[in-house]
C-alpha cells in the first residue's frame, strides 16, 4: 500500500494482550485466535478511515510522525491497562506436547506456528498474484489516478487492506504470545525486525517479505546461538550489506 506504519508493532502487541485477556477469561486459546485478529482489523480499519486517509498525499514523513505518535499512545494505554510487568500464557493443551521427528524433538506448538506461517504466506502470495483483489491493489499502488479512472473504489480497497494487515499483525501477536513474553515494549523490537525483513526483501513484494523473514529469522537464531553478543548487529549488518549491493532490496523493483 506504500504506507509506512510504525504502529504496526503496536497492533502485534495489542494482539498478544488481547490473547492474554481472552485466555484469562475463557481459558480458550482458539477463541483468542479468532477474536484478536478481528479486533485488530476493526482498530486498523477505523484508524485508516479517520487518520491515514488524509495523509496519503503527504508522503512518508507525515506517516512516520503520525504513527510514531500512535505507538506512544498505544504503549501508554497498554501500560495503564495491564501494568508494566511481563505476562505470559500457556499454549493450548492439545499443542502442549512434543513431537519426535527425524531424530530430533520439536514442541507441537512450534510446529503449529510453522504451519500457520506457511498457510498464511501461501494464501497471501496466491491472493496477491492470482486474485482480483491482488491485481486491484497492485494497480492502486502503481498508479492511483489511473486505477480510480478505471472505476476501482480505491478508498474502500485501501481501508480493507489496512484492516487486513492490522488483523494479520494481531494474529501474529496471538501466536507469539505463548512462545514469547508479553510486555509493553514488545512492539518496538518486533517492529524494527519486521521493517528490516520487509526492506531486505524489497518493498511491495510478498515473496521478498517471505524470503527476508527466512533470512533474518535464521540469521538471528544462528547469531544468538553462536555470537550472542552481536546478534542484533549481525542482523542490521546483513540488511545494510544487501541494501548497499541492491538498493531496493532482494525482490524490489524501481
Amino acid at each position: 500500500m506504500d504506507v509506512l506504519n510504525l504502529a504496526h508493532g503496536s497492533f502485534y502487541m495489542i494482539g498478544a494482550y488481547t490473547a492474554y485477556s481472552v485466555v484469562l477469561a475463557t481459558h480458550s486459546f482458539w477463541l483468542a485466535l479468532l477474536i484478536a485478529p478481528l479486533l485488530l482489523a476493526l482498530v486498523g480499519g477505523l484508524l485508516e478511515l479517520v487518520f491515514f486517509r488524509r495523509l496519503y498525499r503527504h508522503g512518508h514523513l507525515a506517516q512516520v510522525l503520525l504513527t510514531f505518535g500512535f505507538t506512544l499512545v498505544f504503549v501508554d494505554l497498554i501500560r495503564s491497562g495491564y501494568g508494566p510487568t511481563t505476562r505470559s500464557i500457556a499454549p493450548p493443551p492439545s499443542l502442549g506436547g512434543a513431537v519426535h521427528f527425524l531424530g530430533a524433538t520439536f514442541s507441537s506448538y512450534s510446529l503449529f506456528v510453522l504451519g500457520v506461517a506457511v498457510v498464511v504466506g501461501a494464501l497471501l502470495l496466491a491472493a496477491w498474484r492470482r486474485l482480483r483483489v491482488g491485481a486491484v491493489l497492485r494497480a492502486g499502488v502503481a498508479d492511483k489516478e489511473m486505477a480510480g479512472l478505471l472505476g476501482i473504489d480505491l478508498a474502500r480497497v485501501f481501508t480493507l487492506t489496512f484492516a487486513f494487515g492490522a488483523g494479520l499483525a494481531g494474529l501474529a501477536g496471538v501466536i507469539a504470545a505463548p512462545e514469547f513474553a508479553i510486555f509493553p515494549a514488545m512492539d518496538a523490537s518486533v517492529l524494527i525486525l519486521a521493517l528490516v525483513v520487509v526492506v531486505l526483501g524489497g518493498l511491495g513484494s510478498i515473496e521478498g517479505a517471505i524470503v527476508g523473514a527466512a533470512v533474518i529469522g535464521l540469521g538471528y537464531v544462528i547469531g544468538t546461538t553462536l555470537f550472542p553478543q552481536v546478534a542484533l548487529v549481525l542482523i542490521f549488518g546483513l540488511m545494510a550489506a544487501v541494501l548497499v549491493v541492491r538498493p531496493t532490496g532482494l525482490f524490489g523493483r524501481r
Binding site: 510522525l65 505518535g69 500512535f70 494505554l77 518496538a188 524494527i192 548487529v233 541494501l243
Partner: protein, 312 residues
C-alpha cells in the same frame, strides 16, 4: 524585506528572553531549557539534512550518541578543556558519518531512511555490547564538566546551572548562524537544486553525490556537537542516546516545528522537550498526551509551527 526584518526581531527577542532565563526562572526550568537548547542544536542539524538537502534520515541519533560517547571518554581521561571536548564530539561523529553516508546515500527515499536506521541500530548494538570501551548498558557515568578558562576568577563554574545554560545558548546561536550562512551560500543553493532535481544538477556538472555526502557529514558533526553538550549536561552517556526512538523524536521536533526554516526545529525541539519533561513531571499518562499531540500536529498543522506564519 519586512518579513526578513520581522524574523530577525523575533529571533532577537527570543534570544534576550532566553539569555535572561537564569535570572528569573526556577532551577527546574533552567534544566529543561538547557536540555531543550541541546535538543534544538540536534534538531537544526537534522533540518540541514531533511529540509535543505531533502535527506530524511531516521538514524540521526547515531551521531548524537557517538558525540556524547567521544566527549565522555575524553573527559573521563582527565581532559579538562571546553573547546577540545566539544570538538572531539563533532569530529568523531563526522568520522562515523563518512562511511555511513557513503553507503546510505546510494539509496534514496524510504530505503535511505531504513539504511540510516539500520546503521544507527548497529552503533546502538555496539554501544551495548562493546563493554570494554562503553561499559555496556550502564554507560559512561560521572562525566565531569570542563573548567572554563578565566571563569574561576569571576566566581562561577560550568557546574552551576546558569552558566552552563548560557554556554548551551551560545553554542546554539553559533550553530544557528553557521547553518544560516551555509544554507544561503552557493553550497546551500546547490543542495536545494539537488533536492529538487538531482538529474539536472548532475547534467550541469555538479558532483551531486559528493555534495550530499558533504552535507551528511556536516549534519553528523553538528549532531555530535549536541551530543558532547548532552554528555556534559547529563554527566553520562548511555546507549539510550543512540536508540531509534531518539531519531524518531528529533524527526518529530523538526517536522512539528516546520522543516527548511532552522527556526522551526528550534521551536519544535522546545515544544517536544517541554512536553516530554514537563508532562512526565506533572502528568501520569504523559506518553499518551505526547502521542496525541504529535497526531494532532500531523492532521491539523502539516507544515509545522512555522507554517502558521509562512504562507508560501
Amino acid at each position: 524585506m519586512t518579513v526578513g526584518r520581522g524574523r530577525t526581531l523575533l529571533l532577537l527577542a527570543l534570544l534576550v528572553a532566553l539569555a535572561s532565563l537564569p535570572l528569573w526562572a526556577p532551577r527546574f526550568w533552567i534544566y529543561i531549557g538547557t536540555q531543550a537548547l541541546i535538543f534544538a542544536i540536534f534538531a537544526m542539524s537534522l533540518d540541514l539534512l531533511l529540509g535543505y538537502a531533502g535527506l530524511a534520515s531516521f538514524g540521526h541519533a547515531a551521531f548524537y550518541g557517538v558525540g556524547a560517547y567521544a566527549c565522555g571518554l575524553l573527559a573521563l581521561r582527565h581532559v579538562d578543556a571546553l573547546i577540545p571536548l566539544l570538538l572531539i564530539g563533532a569530529l568523531a561523529s563526522a568520522a562515523v558519518a563518512v562511511p555511513i553516508g557513503a553507503l546510505s546515500l546510494r539509496a534514496t527515499g524510504i530505503y535511505f531512511l531504513m539504511l540510516t536506521l539500520a546503521f544507527a541500530q548497529i552503533l546502538w548494538g555496539l554501544a551495548v555490547n562493546w563493554t570494554s570501551l562503553t561499559r555496556g548498558t550502564d554507560g559512561l557515568i560521572g562525566v565531569p564538566r570542563p573548567a572554563l578558562p578565566g571563569a574561576g576568577a569571576l566566581g562561577f563554574t560550568l557546574n552551576e546551572r546558569g552558566p552552563f545554560f548560557i554556554l548551551c545558548l551560545a553554542v546554539a546561536v553559533l550553530v544557528f548562524l553557521l547553518l544560516e550562512a551555509l544554507t544561503r551560500s552557493p553550497f546551500g543553493r546547490t543542495l536545494e537544486g539537488i533536492r529538487e532535481n538531482e538529474r539536472r544538477m548532475r547534467a550541469l556538472g555538479f558532483p551531486t553525490f559528493r555534495y550530499r555526502l558533504a552535507v551528511f557529514v556536516v549534519g553528523g558533526a553538528i549532531a555530535g556537537l549536541a551530543g558532547s553538550l548532552a554528555a556534559m549536561s547529563n554527566g553520562f552517556a548511555t546507549p539510550d542516546l543512540l536508540y531509534w526512538t531518539v531519531s524518531g523524536l528529533v524527526l518529530v521536533a523538526v517536522v512539528v516545528g516546520g522543516s527548511r526554516s532552522l527556526v522551526g526545529p528550534v521551536l519544535g525541539a522546545f515544544l517536544v522537550l517541554i512536553a516530554q519533561l514537563g508532562l512526565s513531571t506533572f502528568v501520569d499518562r504523559w506518553e499518551l498526551v505526547l502521542g496525541a499531540l504529535f497526531i494532532a500536529f500531523v492532521l491539523f498543522l502539516p507544515r509545522g509551527l512555522v507554517g502558521l506564519v509562512r504562507r508560501a
